[in-house]
Amino acid sequence: MALDKNQIAQRIAREVRDGMYVNLGIGIPTLVANYIPDGVNVVLQSENGLLGIGPFPFEGEEDPDLINAGKQTITTVPGSAFFDSALSFGMIRAGKVDLTILGAMEVADNGDIANWKIPGKMVKGMGGAMDLVASAKNIIVAMQHVNPKGESKLLPACTLPITGVRCVKKIVTELAVLEVTPNDGFRLIERAPGVSVDEIKQKTIGRLIVEGDVPEMKF
């Protein structure tokens, strides 16, 4: 059975290691914070100038001066630090953020990602996405395997304007976990419980590498 959004987040949370600095994008990536195991200490970065994102504030305690990159009211955790936007992207550019988790419209089998612009639609802007994908050491994409029309989002080449080149390392969808090997394509490493390799093959247009038995995810 295909994963729901929370299960995708839960699966991605297993990629997070103790001591990591992590930037979480809007949407499913934000949910990852809820599934980081006890004993795995990570610091969440918000690119608008905070290391140490905490949970949402209690009702009535929202602080307009304290928001995340999605403009939501948040809190901080002990050990947090504020800084300006240039230092924030400076630490991203310098590779100090260990892991970036973000959504995508399309991923190509060489690791290219498209997630900022759909021709013909009003373009809202790339925000910090281009900076993040150009510099992060490790990028995991959280997305649906197919678009609402049922078309694969894992492609031989992006059809939409790209956000960054050869940068995605791993993809977690409702159907599968895939590693990107830029020269060889998507390597299937896990499948959702009850989802067949055939279904994944059928919904993946980009080059797909399937070797041996592909284990099912366990929850």
Partner: protein, 232 residues
């Protein structure tokens, strides 16, 4: 070294049509509410605004868009603004979309006297069109130019009469960088104190970058996405 002016109207007195302004803030957080209101009242037109976002329909730079005062936005993200979309589609408004880190660093570069910076953001994308690409240590970078706004307008939590500024939490965001970049920089603050009252170790932006400062009033500090937990 007293840089105090009476209010937003005096601070923006010589901002004229068709100028390039940089404005601090991220979303509606840390935006110069008083100066934006004064610019709307003054009615200057044809402005180019360097600002990470463009406000919402009825707040922030959105108020200037409603009055058709803006000719061009230079931003990283301009969602959540119906009037913006209408003007953009009708061709009344230009927009130059720039990666957020590039925007921040081009402002900082101005304040550090650096004519250009190199960043990998946008390499291989349409953002790279027409730009110099250069490889350093095996990685490609785009050359991006420092901004050069005629006026910079920022909002701080506290400031002193020398123009030293202190920001609060994530309302710091682009404000110190915008402040650095302006040929003339205007700061509005929630609390203006005499020189000597701020701890010199706590100052986020030294007053040398600020030319005019005033204590703002009636801050609304609107929240764009109010998210919260219920107390259990």
């Amino acid at each position: 070294m007293n840089k105090k002016v009476a209010d937003a109207h005096e601070a923006i007195r010589d901002i004229e049509d068709n100028m390039v302004l940089a404005l601090g803030g991220f979303g509606l957080c840390g935006i110069p509410e008083n100066c934006i209101a004064a610019l709307v009242e003054k009615g200057v037109k044809g402005l180019t605004c360097i600002s990470n976002n463009a406000g919402v329909d009825d707040f922030g730079i959105g108020l200037m868009l409603q009055q058709k005062q803006v000719r061009k936005m230079i931003s990283s993200y301009v969602g959540e603004n119906a009037e913006f979309e209408r003007q953009l589609l009708s061709g009344e408004l230009e927009v130059d979309l720039i990666p957020q880190g590039t925007l921040a660093t081009r402002l900082m570069a101005a304040g550090y006297g650096m004519p250009v910076i190199f960043t990998p953001a946008g390499v291989g994308t349409e953002v790279a069109q027409g730009k110099e690409v250069r490889n350093f240590n095996g990685k490609d970078y785009l050359m991006e130019y420092a901004f050069d706004p005629a006026f910079s307008i920022v909002k701080a939590w506290k400031g002193d009469t020398h123009g030293n500024l202190v920001f609060r939490a994530t309302s710091r965001n682009f404000n110190p960088l915008v402040a650095m970049a302006g040929k003339i920089t205007i700061a509005e603050v929630e609390e203006l104190v005499p020189a000597g009252e701020l701890n010199p170790d706590h100052i986020h932006l030294p007053g040398i970058y600020v030319h005019r400062i005033f204590q703002g009033s009636s801050y609304e500090k609107r929240i764009e996405q109010r998210t919260f937990r219920k107390k259990s």
